[in-house]
C-alpha cells in the first residue's frame, strides 16, 4: 500500500495535463453532444430547447446518409489503396533491403510526416491541374490525348489522401514484419512450404496487427477529412466532413453540425468495434 504523500505527488504530476485535456477535449465533446440536441444555435439569453430534430433530419433526408456513405467509401478506398501499395513496400524493406540503404529509405518514407499536410495536398493541385505535369506527361507519349482534367475529381481526392497517409501503413507494417523471427520462415521453407504458402500461413498472419493498426490510423481521419476533398475535389468533393465544416463556418447551424459529427463518430467507432470482433473470432478459429 502506498502512503498518502506518494499518492498526492502522483496526482500532482498528472493533474495539469489532465485538467488541460478536460478543458480542451472532454468538456467540448460533451458540450457538443448537448448542442446536438438543441433546436438552434444558442445565442445569449435564450432558453435552450431540447429536441431530437437534428438526428431525425439525418434519417428523414436521404442527402445526409448519402454523404455519410460517400465519406465511408472514401475512407475504404483510401485505406485499401494504402494497403495494396504500402504493404509490399514494407515487406520489401523488411525482407530484401539491408543496412544503411534500408535505414535511408525508411527515413525518406517517414520524412514527409514532418512536412505540412496542407502543402502536400497543395502540391498535388499543381501536378493534377489542367495542363499540369500529368497532362504534359500523357501528351508526351500520346500527343492526341486531350487534357485529363483530373483535378477536381474523385480520383484526385483519393490520390492526394493516399499520398498523405501511405507512410503510416508502411511504417506500422514494417515494424511488425521486421519483428518476425526469421527462423520460423526457414523452418517452414525447409519443411517444404512454398514461398506463397510461407507468406500466407506465417508472414501475413504475423504482420496482421501492424496492418490493422495502420488501417485504423488511415480510415478514421480520412472519413472525417474535409480539407483534402475541398481542395482536390472541387464540386465533386462534397463529403460529410465538408458539410459539417459548412454548418460551423457558413450556415451557422451548430446543432445540425454537432449531430452530424456524432453520427459520423458513432458509425466509425461501430466499424472499428466490428473489425476488432471479427479479428478476435478469426484468431480463435485459427
Amino acid at each position: 500500500m502506498i502512503g498518502g504523500r506518494r499518492l498526492w505527488s502522483a496526482f500532482g504530476l498528472v493533474a495539469p495535463a489532465y485538467v488541460w485535456l478536460t478543458v480542451t477535449v472532454f468538456l467540448p465533446l460533451s458540450a457538443m453532444l448537448y448542442f446536438s440536441f438543441l433546436v438552434k444555435t444558442p445565442l445569449l439569453q435564450q432558453a435552450a430547447v431540447l429536441t431530437l430534430k437534428q438526428y431525425h433530419l439525418f434519417f428523414a433526408r436521404g442527402f445526409y446518409s448519402y454523404l455519410l456513405g460517400r465519406s465511408l467509401m472514401l475512407g475504404f478506398y483510401v485505406t485499401l489503396a494504402c494497403v495494396i501499395f504500402g504493404y509490399p513496400a514494407a515487406l520489401f524493406l523488411a525482407r530484401y533491403v539491408r543496412g544503411r540503404s534500408r535505414e535511408a529509405i525508411l527515413l525518406l518514407i517517414v520524412l514527409p510526416f514532418w512536412s505540412n499536410a496542407l502543402i502536400r495536398v497543395f502540391s498535388w493541385t499543381i501536378v493534377l491541374r489542367e495542363g499540369g505535369l500529368l497532362d504534359r506527361l500523357v501528351q508526351f507519349f500520346l500527343p492526341d490525348a486531350g487534357v485529363s482534367g483530373l483535378l477536381y475529381s474523385y480520383p484526385a481526392i483519393v490520390i492526394g489522401l493516399v499520398h498523405s497517409f501511405i507512410p503510416y501503413i508502411i511504417l506500422t507494417c514494417y515494424l511488425s514484419l521486421q519483428a518476425i523471427d526469421g527462423s520460423l520462415l526457414d523452418a517452414a521453407r525447409s519443411l517444404g512450404a512454398s514461398r506463397l504458402t510461407t507468406f500466407r500461413r506465417i508472414t501475413f498472419p504475423l504482420s496482421l496487427p501492424g496492418l490493422i493498426v495502420g488501417a485504423v490510423l488511415i480510415f478514421v481521419p480520412v472519413t472525417g477529412s474535409f480539407m483534402e476533398p475541398r481542395i482536390l475535389g472541387g464540386k465533386s468533393g462534397m463529403m460529410l466532413g465538408t458539410v459539417i465544416e459548412d454548418q460551423f463556418t457558413e450556415v451557422f447551424n451548430w446543432p445540425l453540425g454537432a449531430a452530424l459529427s456524432f453520427i459520423l463518430l458513432g458509425v466509425v467507432l461501430c466499424i472499428l468495434g466490428l473489425s476488432q470482433l471479427l479479428i478476435r473470432l478469426r484468431s480463435r478459429v485459427a
Partner: protein
Amino acid sequence: MIAAGQFAVRSYLTLMLAFLYLPIAIMIAMAFNESALYELPFKFSFVWFEALSGNTQLWAATRNSILLATASTIIATILGTMSALAFARYQFRGKTLLRVILFVPVTVPWLIIATAMLVFFFWVGIGRGLHAMLLAHVALSLPYVIVIVGARLTSFPMELEEAAATLGATPWQVFRRISAPIIAPGIVAAALFSFAISFDQFATSYFLSAPGVSTLPVEIYSAIRRGFTPEINAISAIVIVLSMGIMLIFSQLFRFSGTPAE
C-alpha cells in the same frame, strides 16, 4: 533470378519514393518559375520570393505559427513528461482509465474535436484567437508526449532512482541528476513531435482563428480557395525545405527513425 528479384524490389521502392517526393519537388520548382499561371517553358526567376517578401499578411501568419508551435511544445513537453513520470513511477487507482482516455484526442477525427472546441470556447467565453489555438495545440500534442516519454521511461531500470533516493537525494535531485539525462532522448523526440503537430495543425487553427489572426496553414488554405498564386509555392517551398531539413538533422543525431541501432 535473385538479381531480377532485387531489381524489382529496388524499382518498386524507387517508384514509391518518387510518388512521395515528385509532387513536392514540382511544387517547389514552380516557385522559381516566372509565369503566374505555372506555364512552361520554365523560366528561372526569384520574382515570387520578392512578391512574398512584401506580403505582410503571410509573414504575420508565419510568425504566429512559429510562436504557437514553440509555446505549445514547451507546455506540452513539460506537462506530458510529468504525467509520464507519474505513470511510470507510481501505482494509483484510476491509472488505467487515465491512460485509456488519452486515446480520445488521438482517435476522434480532428474535424470533430476542432468544431467541439469552437462550440465550447464560444459558449464559455474563451472565444477564438491565438490563446484558443494554444489550448488546442497543447491538447493534441499531450497524448503523443506522454506515450513517447513513457516508452523511454519503461526501458530504464528504476533501481538507479531508488539507489539515489536511498543515498539521500531529494526527488528533484533524483530527477535532475538521474532520470532527466536518461530520458532526454525521449523528451527531445516528444518535443519534436509536438512542434510538428502544432506547426502542421490545420483543423483546430482553422476553426479557432479569429479575423486577422491566423496561422500559416490557414492562410495557405484560404489562398488556395481564392485561386492559386506562385507566392504560395514560394512560402510552401521555404517551409517544406526548412522543416524537412531540421527533421533530417535531428533524426541523424538521435536515430529515432524506427530502425534499431545496429
